[in-house]
């Protein structure tokens, strides 16, 4: 029999009490148990970053984090980034800068940027590129993504 672990999580402000299998990852819990499909599934080995979410405010590839290790954690996914009806500055900037094409990496990219801007609120272009380098995007070539993060950093800094 598979051992089940009790898992208490706060996801996008909502509290959850779940029973998960020992090997289940945070990504599986988000996508299958909570049906939050914003965090995407691809390499499942922590290389591509499309599954990135914030765990206690820090960027994590949820595909390689064992869910049971997250007991008591605060999780933010792309679905929880907006404040009510108002999109987060990163979401607005990605949209307005044309930084979105197929969009599959975008939840991971935006969450990576959100986590990075907490650590470094006024980054240079080079620092943004370094901060985002854990998330692959095949569509955009990163030019407009970097511009969007620069714009969002300015908007957020001005508040």
């Amino acid at each position: 029999m598979t051992t089940m672990h009790e898992l208490n999580l706060t996801v996008n402000g909502e509290e959850w009490q779940l029973a998960v299998k020992g090997a289940e990852t945070l990504l599986e819990v988000l996508r299958k148990h909570l049906t939050l499909t914003g965090a995407k599934s691809n390499c499942l080995e922590g290389e591509c970053g499309v599954c990135a979410v914030l765990v206690n405010g820090r960027v994590v590839n949820s595909c390689i984090l064992i869910a049971a290790q997250c007991n008591g954690a605060q999780i933010t996914t792309v679905e929880g980034l907006a404040s009510g009806e108002t999109m987060h500055a990163l979401q607005t900037a990605f949209l307005n800068r044309g930084a979105v094409q197929c969009g599959y990496c975008i939840p991971g990219m935006i969450m990576t940027a959100a986590g990075y801007l907490k650590e470094n609120p006024a980054p240079t272009e080079e620092e943004i590129r370094e901060g985002l380098c854990g998330t692959l995007c095949r569509c955009t070539g990163y030019t407009k993504i970097v511009e969007a993060v620069q714009e969002a950093a300015q908007t957020m800094g001005a508040k």
Binding site: E47, Q101, G103, T140, G141
Partner: protein, 753 residues
């Protein structure tokens, strides 16, 4: 020339219609899609490059927990398939002919249960001789990849002989005479490696049989109708009995043109009598997807004292892998890239595709572009260096200009190549080609076509006065459908956000050739524009009747028709039509006009004439680390003749993304295969460019309008991946003197080469 006309919607940097869902996480992709009672499928793949299947025993697997169905080649009658030659099998029957070939499938309650059960399938193989090198495969003594090749059904254009699965030729003038008259003749051989399309969403399909001969498949294909007809062929049922829906797609780049997981999901769902989802793992993507074909390119070019090309002989040999796939098309179109956008008085260009026991390959973005372009544009620089000429000057002496006759006999129009060369060279600072030690600049030019193929569009006036546009393509992310909607909005005097787009359902949307060939927005916008004009006429007739006036007296403004002070809004017209007039709909179809060429110059050519050709120049400034051999790209410029920019933002996005994809093929990306086995089947060892590996891509839009294109636009999606390998190779040579003739240009090759 008069100043370009200002439009209200077209030409504007408007946000894409599907953007909000993509930044909030609300967008549903095929990999997010589930059905009640859905099972999970996994595929057992061949560990051998060529072997006879002696025995398959699935009895133990069937007894494993959670297993609901097991399928092998023997358990279901499934027909062979393939775009040009029917050489693919869904599950192997008597033989496997490449590593990774599907042998069996299992559907179970979970992916984990299916994976465990795969290990319980016993397969006994008897290994057979295999061939992995294209040149060896062409030898008469080589083992035949398909000993039954003569009995495999093939398209009439295909000319086959043993392992050679196609041959195309372009011939002009007399090359031998040209070489005799040449001041110098240069002969080189170039090679390229297989690369993956690099989409971030793996291929996935959910299949459900709704009757014994009817099924629905939710998947992330780029081609609804090709997928539908191929599945119909495999399962022996009418195409209309298969409904293909793409809920959303995470990138394609050509890697999702042909069947991915759809046929496996359908076979397993039929056996299990339950919906089945099959998703490719990351390892399967990098070991068993359809890669860009590796190629060997032989080039012989003769020039006069001034560097003018007098004769060119070339051959591109494409490794199709164990099934021909797109190989014949890639080799065929490759001959046009061997020619390049140059005046060639004498040419003999050949493209062949060859079976090996390597993994079958597909059509990645500009399928035949980067390999022969890398060869021809590298050789142009080598010629320039030998003659003591500036590489830019050598190109200016040879390029096609307005009214020139290209190698295929086609008269060139709307040729923006010289402007691209001038602008790219100026932007990169060409006057200073070696700005410092181990630093250099390089450029490469090229051409490409806007592929043909039909598009249809249905338009429906909604009761709130907005409009619904139904089209049979998949929005891959390029913004093609936002662009087409901008064209419709412009015609209708509406805002972009007044256009509701419905797409990618084979049952409800009109036929479309699909999201491929740099033609999606081009063709869909042309069809939709025609439909919009028709709809507007119908609305005008109703408006005139309602206002009791002449149609000619009506003025269209603010989504209403006006006659002096009286008006009727689009919403009122729709309401009237819906309640008393049968509603208002319009439809139109489009195919790009055929382009004239000289048929006597081409043999068995898949694309002998290039509709609305585009022209492009890439230039880069890079540094090579003297000790480590690592390349750092300091600047990268793309100048592309796009005809007209319907939405400059997303157009730039195509060029920026395509250039970086091409830089990946130039410097780091390679599926490493030894004896048919992939050695780097993970994203740690298959190195796609990250944000740190590339600089800002600087884009220059050159606009020589195409007569056929919507507002003059040309196809734009594929070209930017063509030139990066050559531009980078030329810049590396300028920086450190090393001429790398085998992609990718790794540090090892720079240091040891």
């Amino acid at each position: 020339m008069s100043a370009p006309k200002e439009f209200e919607v077209v030409g504007k940097r408007l946000n894409r219609l599907d953007g909000e869902g993509k930044v909030t996480g609300a967008a549903v992709y095929a990999s997010d899609f589930t059905l009640p009672g859905m099972l999970h499928g996994k595929i057992l793949r061949s560990p051998h490059a060529h072997a006879r299947i002696v025995r398959i025993d699935t009895s133990a697997a069937r007894k494993m927990p959670g297993v609901r169905a097991v399928v092998t080649g023997a358990s279901q009658k499934l027909n062979r398939f393939g775009n040009f030659i029917k050489d693919f099998e869904v599950f192997a029957n008597e033989r496997v002919y490449h590593v990774g070939q599907p042998v069996a499938g299992i559907a179970a309650d979970s992916e984990y249960a299916a994976e465990q059960a795969l290990r319980a399938i016993e397969v006994e193989y008897a290994e057979l001789p295999a061939v992995f090198d294209v040149m060896e495969a062409l030898d008469k003594a080589a083992p035949l990849v398909h000993p039954d090749w003569q009995s495999l059904k093939a398209a009439p254009i295909i000319v086959r002989e043993g392992n050679r699965c196609s041959r195309t030729v372009i011939k002009v003038g007399d090359v031998e005479e040209g070489f005799r008259n040449s001041y110098r003749v240069y002969e080189h051989v170039f090679r390229t490696s297989p690369v993956h399309a690099g989409y971030t969403e793996p291929r996935v399909a959910v299949a459900q049989w709704t009757a014994s001969d009817q099924a629905t498949v939710w998947c992330n294909t780029q081609l609804l109708f090709d997928t539908q007809s191929t599945l119909a062929e495999i399962f022996g049922i009418p195409p209309s009995h298969i409904r293909v829906i793409v809920p959303g797609i995470g990138g394609g780049f050509g890697g999702k043109l042909r069947l991915g997981m759809e046929h496996y999901a359908m076979a397993l769902a039929r056996a299990a009598k339950r919906p089945v989802r099959v998703m490719s793992s990351s390892e399967e993507e990098l070991t068993a997807a359809l890669f860009r074909q590796p190629a060997t390119i032989e080039l012989k070019t003769g020039v006069d004292r001034d560097g003018r090309i007098l004769a060119k002989e070339g051959r591109i040999v494409v490794d199709a892998g164990a099934c021909s796939g797109s190989g014949p098309l890639v080799a065929s179109t490759g001959t046009m890239i061997l020619a390049g956008p140059y005046r060639l008085p004498n040419a003999n260009l050949e493209g062949i595709s060859v079976y090996t026991n390597n993994h079958p390959n597909g059509s990645i973005r500009a399928p035949s572009g980067p390999m022969p372009n890398f060869a021809t544009e590298s050789q142009m620089d080598m010629i320039a260096e030998d003659l003591g000429l500036d590489p830019l000057e050598l190109r200016l002496r040879n390029i096609l200009r307005e009214g020139d006759i290209a190698v295929n006999g086609q008269k060139m129009t709307a040729v923006g190549l010289e402007e691209c060369l001038d602008k790219a060279a100026t932007a990169i600072g060409w006057d200073l080609r070696k700005p410092g030690p181990n630093r250099g600049k390089g450029l490469a030019c090229g051409w490409w076509m806007t592929s043909r193929g039909s598009s249809g569009s249905y338009l429906k006036l909604m009761q709130d006065g907005t409009l619904t546009m139904m089209v049979g393509v998949v929005e891959m992310g390029t913004g093609a459908l936002t662009g087409a909607a901008q064209v419709v909005a412009e015609e209708m005097g509406m805002k972009l956000t007044d256009i509701n787009v419905v797409s990618a359902d084979s049952l409800t949307t009109p036929y479309d050739f699909g999201s491929q060939g740099s033609r999606t927005m081009f063709a869909v916008a042309n069809a939709s524009r025609e439909a919009a004009r028709d709809l507007l006429e119908k609305m005008r007739t109703r408006a005139a009747k309602a206002l009791g006036t002449d149609e000619q007296a009506l003025v269209m403004r603010d989504k209403a028709f006006w006659s002096d002070e009286k008006k009727i809004t689009f919403a009122e017209i729709a309401a009237q039509a819906n309640t008393a007039g049968g509603g208002l709909i319009a439809e139109a179809t489009y195919i790009a006009p055929a382009v004239e060429h000289d048929a006597s110059r081409v043999q068995n050519h898949f694309s002998p004439a290039w509709p609305s050709p585009s022209f492009h120049v890439h230039a880069t400034d890079l540094s090579v680390d003297e000790v480590l051999g690592e390349v750092t790209i300091n600047r990268y410029v793309v100048a592309q003749d796009v005809g007209y920019a319907i939405n400059p933002t997303y157009l730039e996005g195509q060029l920026e993304g395509g250039a970086v994809q091409g830089v990946g093929q130039a410097l780091s990306e390679e599926i490493i295969i030894a004896n048919g086995h992939v050695k780097n089947g993970n994203l740690t060892d298959y190195k796609m460019p990250t944000a740190m590996d590339v600089p800002k891509i600087e884009v220059i839009l050159v606009t020589h309008p195409s007569v056929a294109g919507p507002y003059g636009a040309k196809g734009v999606g594929e070209p930017p991946t063509i030139q990066p390998p050559a531009a980078v190779a030329n810049a590396v040579a300028a920086a450190c003197g090393k001429r790398i003739m085998h992609l990718p240009i790794t540090a090892e090759k720079i240091l040891l080469g």
